[in-house]
């Protein structure tokens, strides 16, 4: 019998340390599958963040570099400039990319660095125990805003994809979800496109993936996906916010 579904060789055999039902695992697998599809085996360098995905270097079967908190796009910039023929990607969470690393992210995008950024947005700080993140939704409860996020007191959530799409540098900015099979396949296509942009030297590409955090949201994994689908998309609508190849057509 033929293999209908087999784990990609771009992932190692190390078991994921993520909580049950955390969609980090799906995002890891989709990224690894795309790397295999584009033939990046032995020719790619990933940059791991600080956050839940801090051990990403144990999971991706390629060269990996751990960056200081939030500095993954800056490290990826350096790697790409020294090795322009390598596929370089960073894999970051929202606390890493949208909070401490916001400056690096915005400037890497503005410079149009030829890298791919996978941005996992679960609207909470997962690893440190569910504190309010820049992407926490209005009214969403977290350990540091127990009555729910109040914009007058805690500020508004940051829509990273929309913000970066305003810049001239990026070639492809999209937001995808992992709610069900259909959205997972769409997410994979978006990640593929982001890597194709890098191969074609079009410049900075980012895919924002709406992820879940069942543990810190206080929901079971299935309800967490529903919540992500119904609530998170109100603040973070899915879609392609910038695609320069489409503008050229």
């Amino acid at each position: 019998m033929a293999k209908g579904f087999k784990k990609t060789k771009m992932l190692t055999d190390t078991p994921f340390h993520y909580c049950p039902g955390c969609t980090h695992g799906i995002a890891h697998r989709l990224t690894a599958e795309v790397l295999e599809e584009i033939g990046a085996e032995g020719n790619c360098v990933g940059v791991a963040p600080v956050g839940c995905a801090v051990f990403a270097y144990n999971y991706f079967n390629c060269d990996m570099q751990e960056a200081a908190h939030g500095r993954a796009p800056a490290v990826a910039t350096g790697i790409k400039r020294v090795h322009p023929d390598k596929i370089v990607f960073s894999y970051q969470g929202d606390g890493d990319l949208a909070s401490i690393g916001m400056a690096e992210t915005v400037h890497a995008a503005a410079r149009g660095e030829n890298i791919t950024v996978i941005f996992i947005n679960n609207s909470i700080y997962g690893m440190t125990g569910g504190q309010m993140a820049p992407t926490t939704l209005e009214g969403q409860k977290a350990t540091t805003c127990q009555a729910g996020r109040i914009p007058e007191l805690n500020g508004n959530p940051v829509n990273v994809a929309e913000m970066l799409a305003q810049l001239k540098g990026p070639s492809y900015i999209a937001r995808v979800g992992l709610f069900d099979l259909k959205h997972v396949m769409e997410a994979k296509r978006a990640i593929r496109k982001a890597f194709d942009m890098q191969i074609n030297k079009k410049g900075f590409a980012m895919v924002e993936i709406l992820s879940t955090c069942p543990t810190n949201w206080g929901l079971n994994p299935i309800d967490a996906l529903e919540w992500s689908k119904n609530e998170a998309t109100k603040t973070f609508p899915l879609g392609v916010f910038k695609d320069i190849t489409k503008e050229e057509e």
Partner: protein, 68 residues
């Protein structure tokens, strides 16, 4: 007929495969748990499996392999 194989030690019993299955064949075992203490996903009526790999696509921990 398709064949599913579960890498049970990796299963965390999250149940995402259970909701993904279009034929509703998967469930979380009520008796069988792995070394981490999670009740693992099992298939009840394997003959009815159509091998669509929806479960494997939604599994966050690469537990399921599909042959068809």
């Amino acid at each position: 007929m398709a064949k599913l194989s579960f890498n049970k030690p990796l299963c965390k019993g999250c149940g995402l495969c259970v909701t993904a299955c279009p034929k509703k064949l998967l469930s979380l075992s009520k008796t069988e748990s792995n070394a981490n203490g999670y009740f693992v996903a099992v298939i009840e009526n394997e003959e009815a499996c159509i091998g669509c790999a929806a479960c494997a696509t939604m599994c966050p921990d690469c537990v399921i392999e599909v042959e068809r």
